[in-house]
Symmetry: C2
Subunit: 202 residues, 2 copies
């Protein structure tokens, strides 16, 4: 009985968070109020305050954590096994498709600016996301070294960090300009130690 209630409770909380995330993706975090979230998720005010006693602030943090998870999720399954050139190429293609699809929407940016970019909660979530993302890329670079697919003295952390930073830069520029070439080119350049030169010199 307790178990059942807990499971149902978790489902309600999850419905609130993912429903709020969807609304905030479409219209921005700043433009989304609690009434809209309640309506969209068929939840009562008392249920919401049961799971988020401080209301909107707590929900925002939960949605930001959820969206950070989605950033990683969008790169799966490739991100979890970057041990071959083929999986790196598929990961690259998935990243390009994902950010083209998002277009000008920037769920994490909208949420962290609503939380206050420099708030400790926003910063913890973003730092945690970057660390996890970099860690997954590092595991991939390491696996390529172990497999003998790349030179053994390739700096693992710096290679992973450059690829991660390339994605952030390319995505920011895609959103600002609508041009995909920044993300494509910089991924090619930073992946070159793993995949070689993608094409003849420009």
């Amino acid at each position: 009985m307790t178990m059942r209630t807990t499971a149902r409770g978790a489902a309600t909380r999850q419905r609130l968070v993912s429903g709020a995330a969807l609304l905030m993706r479409e219209q921005g975090a700043a433009e989304t109020n609690l009434d809209q979230v309640l309506r969209a998720t068929s939840t009562s005010k008392s249920q919401l305050f049961h799971y988020f006693p401080d209301g909107r602030a707590g929900l925002l943090v939960a949605v930001t954590r959820y969206e950070a998870e989605q950033v990683i999720e969008a790169q799966r399954p490739h991100l979890d096994d970057l041990s071959t050139a083929e999986s790196w190429r598929e990961w690259r293609g998935g990243v390009l498709r994902h950010y083209v699809e998002l277009g000008e929407r920037c769920p994490m940016g909208s949420l962290t600016s609503e939380l206050g970019t420099s708030s400790s909660e926003a910063r913890n979530i973003v730092n945690g996301l970057y660390d996890r993302w970099e860690g997954a890329l590092m595991a991939g670079v390491q696996a390529m070294i172990v497999n003998g697919a790349v030179r053994p003295d390739l700096p693992v952390r710096d290679t992973a960090r450059s690829i991660l930073t390339a994605v952030q830069g390319g995505v920011v520029m895609l959103r600002a300009t609508g041009r995909l070439s920044y993300l494509e080119t910089t991924l090619d350049t930073t992946l070159e130690p793993l995949l070689g030169t993608p094409r003849a010199a420009a």
Copy 2:
């Protein structure tokens, strides 16, 4: 006489724009209203509407153009003559210092989001800035090739574009996390074709 009036007019307009830019840098574009700008620049409302007939909207566009110019200006003199490894190193150091100094402030970001990121005016200014910046970096890569300092088949546009994207990514991550390492590492990586490996493998 006409000449003198014009010169004085240009000075007033310039004082309005740079004064508004300073205020918006410190407190954000969205948080800055015309009364604050008038007070800070000792300008009358009628003077402001003389130079910016549509008021705040026109002033915002002018400030955004001004800040785009400052982005380039902050990289001078090195950006104008990237013909040696030394000047590239000095440019890199200047970029790091500039963005550390700016800290969490993001003048262009604050302005373009106030103009509406996808407004044609914001987009034109940002696209123009990126094109000019990339062009300056391309001229530098080309000069390094002509000087025989790097391999002649180095792809000029892709190298420049990757360096530019690395800066954007590193700066965005610096602002979000307070960590400089993303910008440092990705600059090292994308500058490697020009400067060689900066240090032993990690």
